[in-house]
């Protein structure tokens, strides 16, 4: 798993939405450009990793992409006698994985949320995204605790299908109930802080969005639209 990696590459420095537009352009290119030409976008994605100096991306991206190469070449090449389709599909998926991981490594989630708030996105969108990123590790550790507690009480999670499905109930119900138990407290906290007051929220530290960044952003999005349009009408 790759999270944010501190650095000073171009995607680290630019506005988060500009970084997102670059990712959209490269991923769209991998899908829109016909035939084996789309494999060039794997190269573009690798260049992005090197330019951003986030080599840790390789450690996650390569194990994610390799099974796709294996199975796509097996299903389409060896068994379907269409090696080219296998390579095209695998190149698309590899490009997507690489550019997406570069984006995650270059843009801190809090900075992305600030960018959305600064662009006047509805408060609930930014809040839900940030609150969910906090809730997930909490729920995962609760699930692990429930699992350990039930095993201590003698729960056996193995055996036949019915036994395994039966074991899900004493694991799932306490997890969900413990999550719902704190709901009232959270609701009151949100109410007292005026979370749904309707007034526009002020971002604490909005990312800079100079003219050059906006030009790159809109050019990237325009290029992505042109690629899709060309793909649909010409190729």
């Amino acid at each position: 798993m790759v999270g944010y990696i501190p650095g000073d590459g171009p995607m680290h420095r630019t506005h988060p939405l500009t970084a997102l537009s670059i990712v959209v352009l490269v991923a769209t290119g991998a899908f829109a450009v016909p035939g084996m030409w789309n494999t060039a976008f794997v190269g573009v994605a690798v260049v992005l990793v090197l330019v951003e100096r986030v080599p840790r991306v390789f450690k996650t991206a390569v194990p994610l992409a390799l099974p796709f190469w294996f199975f796509l070449l097996l299903l389409h090449g060896l068994m379907g006698d269409d090696w080219q389709r296998g390579v095209i599909l695998a190149a698309r998926i590899t490009t997507m994985v690489f550019v997406f991981l570069v984006f995650l490594a270059s843009v801190h989630p809090a900075r992305l949320v600030e960018a959305f708030v600064a662009k006047k996105a509805p408060f609930f969108v930014a809040f839900l995204f940030a609150a969910t990123l906090q809730a997930v590790p909490d729920l995962r550790s609760r699930a692990a605790a429930v699992l350990e507690a039930q095993r201590c009480r003698g729960l056996r999670a193995g055996g036949g299908l019915a036994n395994r499905v039966g074991a899900l109930v004493p694991l799932t119900v306490p997890l969900v109930m413990s999550a719902l138990a704190g709901l009232d407290e959270k609701t009151v906290a949100l109410e007292t802080r005026g979370a749904t007051g309707g007034a526009a929220k002020t971002p604490l530290n909005p990312p800079a969005d100079p003219l050059s960044s906006r030009i790159v952003r809109w050019s990237s999005l325009l290029a992505a639209v042109v690629l899709v349009w060309t793909r649909v009408t010409l190729w």
Partner: protein, 191 residues
């Protein structure tokens, strides 16, 4: 959006993502990654569930680092709308009705997911699914049929178990929570 929903939705997404640990522990070849979405549909209706499903798929994509999951977003939205409808019809009033509605959702989910699996990803979405598809193609099934059959096997089991879990949850729900979310009583068949 009400403060109660703002508090509930992140928890439901957390439940969707935490279920991976539990499924791994019991060793079942299913996901159960829509339990939180179905829970919100039952407690608060389809609109809130659509937000939950969308957010769940987005956050899962971000945390796993695998962008292909985002392509299955329409599936989460379908689950949300379907579960909201089932809840409004009292579909969780008994275990057999919950099982039947769950099988219906499994068939719908497989029918929706196979074009994405087949056309966008060439039939390879995860190692487990790819193995099933490879075996089916090896014994003579065309690739498209193999992908659909594999999706059917996984989705019907997954959604059926999801609905069984939801029925168990609704039976155990404290009265205080039912009072806060009156829709849950409708889902259990009482008006």
């Amino acid at each position: 959006m009400s403060p109660r929903l703002l508090a509930l939705i992140p928890l439901a997404v957390g439940i969707n993502l935490a279920m991976g640990l539990i499924v791994q522990a019991v060793g079942l070849p299913i996901f159960l990654d829509t339990i939180g979405t179905v829970l919100v549909a039952v407690l608060a209706g389809s609109r809130a569930a659509v937000v939950t499903g969308t957010l769940s798929q987005t956050v899962f994509t971000v945390l796993s680092g695998n962008p292909m999951w985002l392509y299955f977003l329409p599936l989460q939205v379908t689950v949300a709308l379907y579960a909201g409808f089932v809840a409004s019809k009292g579909g969780f009033r008994s275990l057999p009705t919950a099982v039947l509605w769950g099988i219906g959702l499994g068939i719908l989910a497989a029918t929706l997911s196979w074009p994405i699996s087949f056309h966008v990803f060439g039939g390879v979405t995860s190692v487990g699914m790819a193995l099933v598809v490879t075996v089916l193609e090896f014994i003579g099934a065309p690739l498209g049929v193999a992908v659909y059959a594999a999706s059917m096997m996984v989705d019907i089991t997954d959604k059926m178990v999801t609905f069984i879990m939801l029925r168990s949850l609704l039976v155990s729900l404290p009265r205080r929570v039912v009072g806060r979310f009156p829709r849950s009583a409708v889902a259990m068949g009482s008006d």
